[in-house]
Structure formats: structure tokens, C-alpha cells
């Protein structure tokens, strides 16, 4: 074998590595170039086009959202009625935000044409060309973009190009503002409309930063930190008004809300899906004899270290073995977990948690307030550079930003241990969703002594983790199977008899074989995607729910070359 031949062969493999991310997923190589549009439209012309309100309204009126949900996606998704999705945020009166705010979007071809004609007059243009950027990591965005292309072409008579990219490429293009219209989504961090509305505040650094509206900012600031912050009703009304403002301006065009479809063994109950929090597998009940439940997961476990985790799978497993000050019940309301009770001061900025006397780690040492203080300081430390450090800022913990940036000492973070079982958290302002977020893994405790003894390999094997949740990690087969068995030292272990003895997660990226295995009785829970949803609709275990993800079209008003 000569050198040239070997090199060519090796390169072929290298190309495989370098390209399969892009080429495997970019299905229409013949599509329009990135910045799209024919030779004639410059970035300025495009910016002018997308800055025109009537043009954006025309695009929105021409989208039949129900058809996209029911005829194109057919997976339980629904058309959005505003920027904020359904079934995720509930007002002071307990009503779904969406029911109070109403339906702000409609499909109206006549109005669409009317708006388009106005836009033509205002811009002095006869015909428009637009380009939609979407990701190919999953099937839905491509299907939806193609449907929208057809709707716009038929109703408005404009030219529509489709540009397909991998998700990370799409994000990079959108960050650089080198796109026209981008199909993107947002998953809520907490159960409040603020998680969506904040995206379009002028000071956001995300790729939506081109939208500047002082009125919108002022309204949200009033609701979040200003005079209405302590009045839930007024705050809610501000949010509703801000969303209306957003839709009147058609800053981005909301399209659909994700549906999730599953096959769940009818003998298995108690899996709690939360739209704005981590799904709970802590209280599964099974009627099967062996009391073991096996769940197929489509993305693998990334880390058991709850301060560096960023993905749903990792969070779900961490919630099984550790636990927070509170847990969420089936309705998503906070109930005591490691803390038995808590006091809140009058203006809602100081929380004092009383940690259970019988809350212990699996090595016998008690769970203390210091474990939380140590944990939160680690989450906020510059050295760790956790991608989820921003969560401390989200819940407005005093000095969270300053400590993260290294401008303040870790001791100045708004968390302190009054005594070994009493923890005080200081916030800069009242935060309605604070308590519920205490169930989120980023805020779980960490035992300093244990961590320092295992620092180099912390959370990399079942012996390098300390447990205080209802389950312990009993078998860790990397990239494949993760088994959890009951934790006898859990404070509530006595009441855990009724729940599954063993919970196993099995990583299987091919949904087809997972579904077959479910039919064979090997798996109890399988997530369905794409065409499989239709195929298994009549199965007795077929379950559907709405997810908190809202998909929208971002319209770039500052197109860069």
C-alpha cells in the first residue's frame, strides 16, 4: 500500500466524520443560497421588506395553523393562539393563561392579501421573495416549512425559498443575523409567560435582540421588577397586554405548539409530565408482577453532575436520586420534599426553609443547609462555568450575576445557613415561580465533604454519587442502560412501597425498534416521533399530551450579508 492510497482512504473516513453532520441532514442541496433571494435584493432591501408591519401581518394571516397541526403534523400538536402556548402557565385565578388572554391569531386569506397590497404600496415593490430557514434534526420543521411555503405561494403569490440546515448551523446563522425568516422554538424555563416575553426585551443578548420597543420593555419591567411585581393580578394583566403588543407588532410569527406522543404500558401509571419543569418518574406505579419499569429514552444521559447538566434526560435521572427543597405534584404545584416547611417574608423576597430532621444522605450524614449553600455557590462559580448558572439569575437570587462574573465574593450570594437545618434565600424581588423552581436539579444540594473526596471523578460512576432521593443508581451501563432501585435511606422511604421497585432507562435512538420492542413487552414507555405516531394511534397504550414548546418564525428586520 503506498502512502497516497492510504492517505486517500484515511481521508475518506475523515470526510465521513466531518461531513455526516451536515450532509446527512441537509436534504435539499439544490435549495437557495443562505442569504437567499435573487441577485437583486440586497441586505438593505430585505431589511426594509421585513421591517414593514403590513408585510409581516400578511405572512401571519396567510398561515392556516390548524391545518399545519391537524393535517401536516398529526402528532397532537396544536396551532398557537398567541406567543404564549397553552397548558403551561396559570394565572392568579388558576385559569390557563391562554384562556384569559384569548386567541390573538387568525387565518384570513382576504386580510392577508389586503395587507400584502398595502405593503407593496408602502415599499414600492411588485413582488416579494422570502426565504425560510429551518433545521433538519427532526422531521417536523421541514414539514411545517414546506406547508407554509405552499400557503404563502398560493395565498400571497410570493416566491418562497426553503433553506435547510442542522440545528446548530441554524442557530449560528440566526445569531449572526444572516437569515431572513427562521423557524425556531422556545422551551419554557419556568411556568410563567415571562419566560417567553423576556426573549424580546431590548436588552436580551439572544438572536432576537433586533427588536427594540421601549413601551414593551417598560411594561415588562413594571410587571417584573416595578410597581406591579408584588400584585399578581396586575402583573398578569401586564403580561397579557405585553403579549398583545407583541402580536400587534407581529415581531415574530407564532406557528404551533408541540405535541408529544407516547406508548405507555396500560399497567403503568404515575409518570408526571410537566410542561415547564422536569418530567417526574419518581412515583411510578406498576401492576406488573416484577414491579420493574423500563423506559426508552431517545437522547442519552450526558452527566449525573446536576450543576453541569443541561439536558432533559440527565435532569430526569438526577431528580430520581437527589431531590430539592420541594417536589412538584401531578398538577405542577410545589409540595415539601427535603424541606418540610418554609416561611416567606411579607414582601416575598426572603424564603426560610426548614430542612427535614430525617433527611439524610445515603452515607448517613444529614442533609444540611450548608449542602445547599455549597451547591449554589458551586453552580454560580466562574471556574465551573455552568451553562445553567443563569437559573440563579432567573429566580433573582441576590448577587447571582455579580458572583458569576467574579465581581463579588461567593459569600455574597443570597443564600445562607442559619443553622444546620435552616436555610435562608434572599431574592432581589418577589418571584412567583420561585418555589416551583426549587424542584429543578440545578438547585439540588451537594455535600462538600463527599464532593471534595471524589472531586476528580465526581458523578462519573454509581459510587461517586451521594444519594438523598427516593431512588439510588444501581447499574450504569454506559451509552445503554441506567437502572435505579429504591433508596432505603430516603426520608419518605416508608411510604414508597407502592411505587416501582426498579426503574430502568434504556437509550435507543431508533424509534422504530423501540416501538417494536414495546409491542413485545420489553419496554413500558416509548416516545413516538414522525410517522410512527400515525402508525400506533390505535394502540391501547397510545398517549398524547401538549408540550410547552412553542414554534415561531423569527423575522429578521436587520438582515446582514
Amino acid at each position: 500500500m503506498n502512502f497516497k492510497k492510504a492517505l486517500t482512504a484515511g481521508l475518506a473516513i475523515a470526510m465521513l466524520a466531518g461531513c455526516s453532520g451536515g450532509s446527512a441532514n441537509t436534504d435539499d442541496s439544490s435549495s437557495a443560497p443562505e442569504t437567499a433571494a435573487p441577485e437583486t435584493s440586497s441586505a438593505e432591501q430585505l431589511s426594509a421588506q421585513y421591517s414593514n408591519l403590513n408585510f409581516r401581518l400578511a405572512l401571519s394571516y396567510a398561515i392556516d395553523r390548524d391545518q399545519i397541526a391537524n393535517l401536516v403534523l398529526k402528532d397532537g400538536s396544536v396551532g398557537l393562539e398567541g406567543f404564549i402556548p397553552r397548558e403551561f402557565a396559570y394565572g392568579p385565578d388558576g385559569k390557563d393563561y391562554r384562556d384569559t388572554a384569548g386567541n390573538l391569531l387568525s387565518y384570513d386569506p382576504d386580510k392577508a392579501v389586503e395587507c400584502l397590497n398595502k405593503a407593496k404600496d408602502e415599499l414600492g415593490v411588485d413582488n416579494f421573495t422570502v426565504s425560510i430557514l429551518y433545521e433538519t434534526d427532526s422531521e417536523a420543521p421541514g414539514k411545517v416549512s414546506a406547508a407554509i411555503q405552499e400557503m404563502w405561494t398560493n395565498t400571497l403569490g410570493i416566491n418562497v425559498n426553503l433553506v435547510s440546515k442542522t440545528k446548530k448551523e441554524r442557530l449560528a446563522l440566526m445569531n449572526a443575523l444572516t437569515y431572513e425568516i427562521g423557524l425556531t422554538r422556545w422551551g419554557p424555563d419556568y411556568a410563567d409567560p415571562q419566560t417567553y416575553l423576556d426573549l424580546f426585551k431590548s436588552d436580551t443578548t439572544a438572536y432576537n435582540g433586533y427588536y427594540f420597543n421601549d413601551e414593551y420593555d417598560a411594561l415588562l419591567n413594571k410587571a417584573e421588577t416595578g410597581e406591579d411585581a408584588t400584585d399578581p393580578e396586575k402583573r398578569w394583566a401586564d403580561m397579557i397586554e405585553a403579549e398583545k403588543m407583541f402580536i400587534d407588532d407581529m415581531v415574530a410569527i407564532p406557528v404551533f405548539q408541540n405535541g408529544g406522543a407516547y406508548l405507555i404500558n396500560p399497567n403503568v401509571t404515575g409518570i408526571e409530565f410537566h410542561n415547564a419543569a422536569v418530567d417526574s418518574y419518581r412515583s411510578i406505579v406498576t401492576k406488573e408482577e416484577d414491579k420493574n419499569v423500563t423506559i426508552a429514552i431517545t437522547s442519552d444521559l450526558n452527566t449525573m453532575d446536576h450543576h453541569v447538566a443541561t439536558d432533559g434526560t440527565s435532569f430526569i435521572m438526577q431528580s430520581l436520586i437527589i431531590g430539592g427543597l420541594v417536589a412538584l405534584d401531578a398538577e405542577g404545584q410545589p409540595v415539601p420534599d427535603l424541606a418540610s416547611s418554609w416561611d416567606i417574608n411579607d414582601d416575598g423576597t426572603e424564603y426560610t426553609f426548614h430542612i427535614r430532621e430525617d433527611a439524610n444522605w445515603s452515607n448517613g450524614t444529614p442533609v444540611t443547609a450548608d449542602d445547599f449553600v455549597y451547591a449554589w455557590r458551586r453552580l454560580d462559580s466562574t471556574d465551573l462555568a455552568s451553562e445553567y448558572a443563569f437559573m440563579l439569575d432567573t429566580i433573582c437570587v441576590k448577587n447571582a450575576q455579580a458572583v458569576f462574573k467574579g465581581e463579588a465574593a461567593p459569600e455574597e450570594l443570597g443564600i445562607e445557613a442559619i443553622d444546620s437545618k435552616t436555610l435562608k434565600v434572599t431574592l432581589t424581588q418577589p418571584v412567583g415561580y420561585f418555589l416551583a423552581l426549587m424542584s429543578f436539579p440545578s438547585f439540588f444540594p451537594l455535600n462538600q465533604e463527599f464532593f471534595e473526596a471524589h472531586e476528580a471523578t465526581y458523578a462519573q460512576s454509581i459510587d461517586d454519587i451521594l444519594y438523598c432521593g427516593p431512588y439510588v443508581f444501581s447499574e450504569w451501563v454506559e451509552n445503554s442502560e441506567y437502572t435505579f432501585t429504591k433508596n432505603p435511606t430516603y426520608w419518605n422511604a416508608a411510604n414508597y412501597d407502592k411505587y416501582a421497585d426498579e426503574v430502568t432507562f434504556k437509550f435507543i435512538s431508533e424509534a422504530q425498534s423501540a416501538a417494536l420492542s414495546y409491542k413485545q413487552g420489553e419496554l413500558d414507555v416509548v416516545t413516538l416521533t414522525g410517522d410512527l405516531v400515525d402508525q400506533y394511534k390505535s394502540d391501547p397504550g397510545f398517549t398524547q399530551r401538549l408540550q410547552g414548546y412553542a414554534w415561531r418564525l423569527n423575522v429578521n428586520q436587520q438582515v446582514k450579508e
Binding site: L16, K168, T382, N479, F507
Partner: protein, 311 residues
């Protein structure tokens, strides 16, 4: 012979070094970042880049990586298995992939040889037709489709094999992936064996051996087959490439925790260190196989060694 081997080994090492450079360059030019969360601020991103040393210029990173690599340190993962050394991450999946791959290759080659010999001996009979059908199917049906069919029929319909990999019953879990991977080598080997053997059997020297009264069995094993083997070894390289790419989809279908699955996830999530390590392992396996094949040539046919040494 020693000089010949030494030369091949040196070339292989140089090739591997070139591959790492190209891999590094391609990943550097790949769009996106390992940290894709929309919620990250620019400052946080910068902090993460510093933490994983991604803020340094290309060549600084490259040489740092190479020096560490020579010491057996492949860096840490920054997405897939956060902060875990890549070298540790590779061990288990690599072992699984090599076992499945080797079993598939072995099964495919042996079955292919058998089928090819049978077809050549019973030229134009039903077994010959079977051989053609198998090789056409094996070459044209993508590994993904074949693996899914196998999972559906043998796994789901008849329940002969488990559909998904289970760490509790590894041997049984290997059957499906092994057969799926064997398909392509079997098709190629049987096709080549058949045509080569037919050629050899019709040649003059075989007629001479027959005339000398050598038994049919000895004739095939000692005289005909040995000359058939050389062209077959030639196609082992391409077969191996098929096997490597096939392993990615076959592992996916059967949920095998191998290196193929890991590499695909690593590429999708921009986990640079893991991607480089996986791609490097694939390249190294390929080059080592080519090296072995080269050396085998020399052993089977001394004329090749002499010719190559002369050039």
C-alpha cells in the same frame, strides 16, 4: 521481509498523523458551537470557551492536542459526557463495536467463502442462483433497511432474536447486529470467490493437477483455493469500509452501545474531542487492517513482496 514491513508501518503512522490534522481542520471549520443553548449569554459562552481551551488559535490547540494524545490523553468531553476523559469514554463502546464488527466480518467471510465455493463447484445449479441472489441483495440493500427487516421479522414476528441490546444477555444481543453486519462481506466474498474459483478451475495448471490424479478435495483446498484468495484479500479493504459505516446504522437499530452511535451523537452535538477520537479510532482500525492485508499479500504470494521491495 522485515524491511518491507517496517516501510509499511512507517507509512501508516504518517497517514494517521495527516488524518488527525485534517480532522482538526474540518472540525474547526464546522459551523456551530458545542454550547447551543439559546439561553446562554455571550459572556457565559466566552467563559465556557476558555474553560475548554477553545478560545486559543488553531495551531496552539492542535499541538496541545497532539502532545497530549501521545501521552494517551484524548482530552475531556464537553457535551456527551461532560468533563469526562474521552479515553475512558471510548473503552467500553470500542470493545463492543470491535466484538460485533469482528463477529460480523468473520461470519460474513466464512459464509461467503462457503457459498462461493459451492456455487463455483455446482456452476449453473440452484445453489449458484442462490449465490447470485444473495450477493445482489447484500450489495444493494442498505445496512439500515436490512437491520430493520431483521429486527422486524427475526426479532418481532418470530421472536428468534432480541430486538434491543441488553447488557444482561450480551451474547444473544449480538446475534442481530452480527448477521446484519455480515450481509455485505458475505455478498462481496461469495461473488468474488465464485468467479475467481471458476477461473482457476478452468486453468491449465488445474487440469495438470487433475491429470496427476490428485483428489478433488485436495485439489480445491491446496491448489485452487490458495490462488483464489489473493483477489479476495484485495477486496477486504473496501469490505471493511462498508462494515465501519454499516456499524453506525446497525448499532442504532439494535441499540448497541458502540462507538458508531457515539460518533454520530458527538458530531451532531459538536463535541470536538469525542468526534476526533472516534474518527481517529475508525481511521486507525482501517489503516491497521490495510497494513495487515499488505503483509498478508507478501506471505501468500512471495512475488508481490519481491516486486514491491524492488520498486
Amino acid at each position: 521481509m522485515f524491511k518491507y514491513i517496517l516501510k509499511r508501518v512507517l507509512i501508516s503512522i504518517m497517514t494517521l498523523a495527516a488524518i488527525v490534522l485534517v480532522l482538526f481542520l474540518m472540525l474547526d471549520k464546522m459551523p456551530g458551537s458545542p454550547f447551543n443553548d439559546e439561553k446562554l449569554t455571550a459572556a457565559q459562552k466566552a467563559l465556557l470557551y476558555t474553560k475548554y481551551g477553545l478560545d486559543k488559535p488553531f495551531f496552539v490547540r492542535f499541538f496541545k492536542y497532539i502532545t497530549a494524545m501521545l501521552k494517551g490523553d484524548l482530552g475531556n468531553s464537553c457535551v456527551l459526557n461532560k468533563n469526562k476523559p474521552v479515553a475512558d469514554m471510548l473503552k467500553a463502546p470500542l470493545g463492543v463495536s470491535i466484538r460485533v464488527g469482528a463477529l460480523g466480518m468473520l461470519l460474513g467471510t466464512v459464509a461467503g467463502l462457503g457459498l462461493g465455493i459451492a456455487a463455483a463447484l455446482k456452476h449453473n445449479s440452484w445453489i449458484d442462483t442462490l449465490c447470485s441472489v444473495v450477493s445482489i441483495l447484500g450489495v444493494s440493500v442498505p445496512a439500515y433497511v436490512f437491520a430493520l427487516m431483521l429486527a422486524y421479522f427475526a426479532g418481532f414476528k418470530f421472536g428468534w432474536i432480541p430486538i434491543l441490546y441488553s447488557s444482561k444477555n450480551v451474547a444473544k444481543s449480538f446475534i442481530g447486529p452480527m448477521i446484519a453486519l455480515a450481509m455485505s462481506p458475505m455478498a462481496n466474498v461469495s461473488r468474488f470467490t465464485r468467479s475467481e474459483l471458476i477461473d482457476v478451475l478452468g486453468s491449465d495448471y488445474v487440469m495438470l493437477v487433475q491429470a496427476k490424479g490428485v483428489k478433488q478435495r485436495n485439489l480445491i483446498l491446496h491448489h485452487a483455493l490458495r490462488n483464489t484468495l489473493i483477489p479476495i484479500i484485495t477486496i477486504m479493504g473496501p469490505i471493511l469500509v462498508n462494515l465501519l459505516t454499516g456499524s453506525m446504522v446497525v448499532e442504532k437499530v439494535f441499540g448497541v452501545p458502540g462507538i458508531g452511535t457515539m460518533m454520530v451523537t458527538a458530531i451532531q452535538s459538536n463535541d470536538y474531542n469525542v468526534t476526533i477520537a472516534c474518527a481517529f479510532v475508525y481511521s486507525a482500525m482501517y489503516i491497521v487492517m490495510m497494513l495487515i492485508i499488505d503483509i498478508l499479500y507478501g506471505i501468500i504470494d512471495p512475488r508481490i513482496r519481491v516486486a514491491k521491495e524492488g520498486s
